[in-house]
């Protein structure tokens, strides 16, 4: 089967400091990958670099989405090609309503694909349907983007946007943080509903709990800018039990 996302020897940094030091990752359609790793190991940097966050500088390597070179595209075109990033820290945009924001996003994608803008009626219908996926309150949908949303509401809103945009590869950066137990179940359920054998999901998390709902096919451990360990779902359980010390020791010993 064709690779959906292929990251090879990706190196990137910020302000002259190298953070990603050679990432290799292959994701095929229908798969769920989990990326775990200690704070500061580079998980958000990896997702930011893939999405085109201008703060980071790519130092080497490649990343393709269904064969298309991602690193040469603007962030908007990466989105149009089917990449979605659920932000660890979603941004508040006062004065821009969710409705206008989503309409602009949907119609920009349609334009990229050579389609006419969506009619107002279809758009509102789609908004309604997708809101239901994560049980997002209508009140939130009519407010400014993320403005005054609680931590959990922001995360729910991220998955709502994912539902609207129907990406081929979604990277969920700590989408579980800030969610209460019920919200976690609903949001994870939403992610599962969006899953097909054509798309793929990468979940970045610190906790096994999310993986009880979103079952990963692979679990990767990112440490000091490299994927140092890959295993099946049992690896997440092992981490939960033992923490990261054994991984750190393994890697740090090798380096000596």
């Amino acid at each position: 089967m064709e690779d959906l996302l292929k990251v090879e020897n990706l190196r990137a940094g910020i302000d002259g400091k190298e953070i990603l030091r050679g990432i290799n990752l292959t994701v095929r359609p229908g798969e769920v990958h989990a990326i775990m790793g200690p704070n500061g190991s580079g998980k958000s940097t990896l997702s930011g670099v893939l999405a085109g966050d201008p703060r980071f500088t790519v130092l080497g390597g490649s990343a393709t989405l269904a064969g298309v070179d991602l690193l040469g595209l603007s962030p908007e075109d990466r989105s149009h090609e089917g990449l979605f990033l659920s932000f660890q820290y979603p941004v508040e945009i006062p004065g821009v309503t969710m409705v206008n924001f989503m309409r602009a996003a949907i119609n920009a994608k349609r334009k990229y694909l050579g389609l006419e803008p969506m009619s107002a009626a279809d758009f509102l219908k789609t908004m309604r349907q997708k809101r239901a996926v994560v049980e997002l309150d209508n009140k939130l949908a009519s407010r400014s983007v993320n403005e005054g949303f609680s931590g959990g509401e922001k995360k729910r809103n991220e998955i709502f946007q994912m539902a609207m945009l129907e990406p081929r590869v979604a990277i969920l950066d700590e989408t579980d943080s800030g969610l209460d137990i019920d919200a976690l179940r609903i949001v994870a359920g939403g992610v599962n509903k969006l899953k097909t054998d054509q798309n793929a999901t990468i979940v970045i998390t610190h906790y096994q709990r999310l993986l009880d709902y979103i079952k990963p096919d692979f679990v990767h451990i990112l440490y000091k800018g490299r994927i140092v360990h890959t295993g099946g779902p049992e690896l997440a359980l092992e981490l939960e039990e033992k923490g990261y010390d054994w991984i750190k020791q393994e890697v740090d010993n090798e380096q000596i």
Binding site: P54, S79, V91, V96, A108, S144, V145
Partner: protein, 459 residues
């Protein structure tokens, strides 16, 4: 003779050389203004010194330097040009008057629908019963400290007098459309006097347009509003003119007890614009709201200066000015709030926020407070920054192209100024207008919020 002397002296020479032409058919009201203006002008030229912190293009000696023609012989604009100005916006449904270059032309719609208690007329035709009132407004409203005020008075040959009788509420907006249409460079003295008598209510909308965009014009506009006790005035000013049209706008108002004055000024396009607001509040318990937005692009310049004088007690004032500067656009904001000794329990707030959307755009902001009284609540603040890069990236990550994301964020930045407008039809139109302007639609009259001269048949 120095260059600055020349810039101003040409107007002094003009009135001296054309005394007979100007005197023809001139009412006593204007004669007094012309004479006072000419004598002040001679003195002001002697005393003129440009302020050191001014944007050079906004200096008066620069603004007046071109060899503009002045229509002292009162040659009317071609009839069909003026006749084609009809308000094509049924919802706006305003009481429309046109100032064709410098000559006041009421429309049939205005004359037929003039509500009881409202007077809108030329300063050449003030009804006898209001002559003393108009003369008092002319004298009180004279911009005595500025050379521009002296030139404006020396050249005045027309103007609009608006009076709202006591306790009369005018529901429809009085809309005044300033139009430049001249094949040769032209300076137009334009004057608007408004007297809102005790307990009255009125909305006034002033729109600036240029139909001959390639020709240099100077709009010398003078507005004076007297808001009597308990009266309410809303004044809106939308400038959408050409790069060759410069504007010197002097707005003065006086507010008596328990009155309300709302002023909103929007710069959508133009050349060099210098707006000066001077509001005095001798009354007690009055409310003043001043707001403005400017979208400055290309080589445009928009400079706003505000002086708000709180003289009475228990007054509240709110000011918010927002500017977005693109390309080589330049802006200035000078805001001064003066709280007099007697102005106890004043509550005054002023905000100025600016966004630089290009590395070559410039903004100067200087808010000032002068407080001579202890029991007051005053705040002011000015910030100049850039669009939020995190928000831009977030929007791009959702597929919104960067330029569109910038436009949306700029519009969001200005949204509170627009939402602040209580005149609903205008508010909605301004939203559309700002969106169009930001998406790069050419700033011609077809995009104007007020669509005041589309060719729709008159009802």
């Amino acid at each position: 003779m120095s260059r600055s002397d020349n810039a101003f002296n040409q107007y002094l020479d003009l009135v001296r050389d054309n005394a007979a032409v100007m005197a023809k058919g001139r009412p006593a009201l204007l004669e007094a203004v012309n004479k006072a203006g000419a004598s002040r002008l001679a003195e002001a030229i002697e005393a003129y010194k440009p302020a050191s912190d001014e944007i050079p293009e906004c200096r008066l000696d620069r603004l007046f330097a071109p060899d503009y023609g002045v229509n002292i012989a009162r040659v009317p604009m071609t009839a069909d040009v003026a006749a084609s100005f009809r308000c094509g916006v049924p919802q706006l449904n305003s009481l429309l008057a046109v100032v064709a270059n410098d000559i006041f032309r009421p429309t049939d719609v205005l004359m037929r629908n003039m509500p009881e208690g409202l007077t809108v007329c030329s300063l050449r035709q003030v009804p006898a019963e209001f002559e003393a009132d108009a003369a008092a407004l002319l004298a009180d409203g004279a911009d005595k400290n500025s050379i521009a005020g002296a030139i404006s008075d020396a050249l005045a040959h027309d103007g609009i007098y608006v009076r709202v009788a006591p306790r009369t509420e005018i529901e429809k907006a009085v809309q005044i459309v300033n139009i430049f249409n001249s094949p040769v460079p032209m300076l137009t003295p334009r004057r608007l006097l408004v007297h809102a008598c005790e307990g009255s209510k009125v909305k006034i909308l002033l729109c600036d347009h240029t139909q001959t965009p390639a020709v240099q014009h100077l709009n010398l506009q003078n507005v004076y509003i007297r808001v009597d006790a308990g009266a309410e005035v809303e004044f809106y000013d939308i400038e959408e003119s050409s790069a060759a049209t410069h504007r010197l706008f002097s707005f003065r108002a006086v507010q008596h007890s328990d009155s309300r004055l709302t002023v909103n000024t929007d710069f959508l396009s133009g050349g060099v614009t210098r707006n000066e607001f001077d509001i005095s509040v001798p009354g007690d318990g009055a409310y003043t709201s001043l707001s403005g937005l400017a979208i400055v692009s290309d080589e445009q310049i928009c400079s706003d200066s505000v002086v708000l004088r709180h003289l009475g007690s228990h007054c509240t004032s709110r000011q918010i000015f927002k500017n977005a500067l693109f390309d080589k656009g330049r802006g200035a904001f000078g805001g001064r709030i003066v709280v007099d000794e007697a102005a106890r329990f004043t509550d005054a707030a002023q905000t100025n926020r600016n966004i630089l959307e290009s590395p070559s755009a410039r903004m100067e902001a200087s808010p000032q407070l002068e407080i001579y009284c202890d029991e007051v609540k005053c705040s002011h603040g000015a910030t100049t920054g850039q669009l939020d890069e995190r928000a831009l990236f977030y929007m791009q990550a959702r597929g919104i192209p960067r330029d569109e994301a910038k436009r949306m964020l700029t519009q969001a930045f200005m949204v509170d100024v627009i939402d602040n407008i209580s005149f609903e039809v205008l508010r909605q139109r301004l939203h559309i207008l700002v969106e169009k302007r930001l998406s790069g639609a050419s700033a011609d009259c077809s995009t104007c919020a007020t669509a005041c001269h589309s060719q729709a048949p008159e009802e």
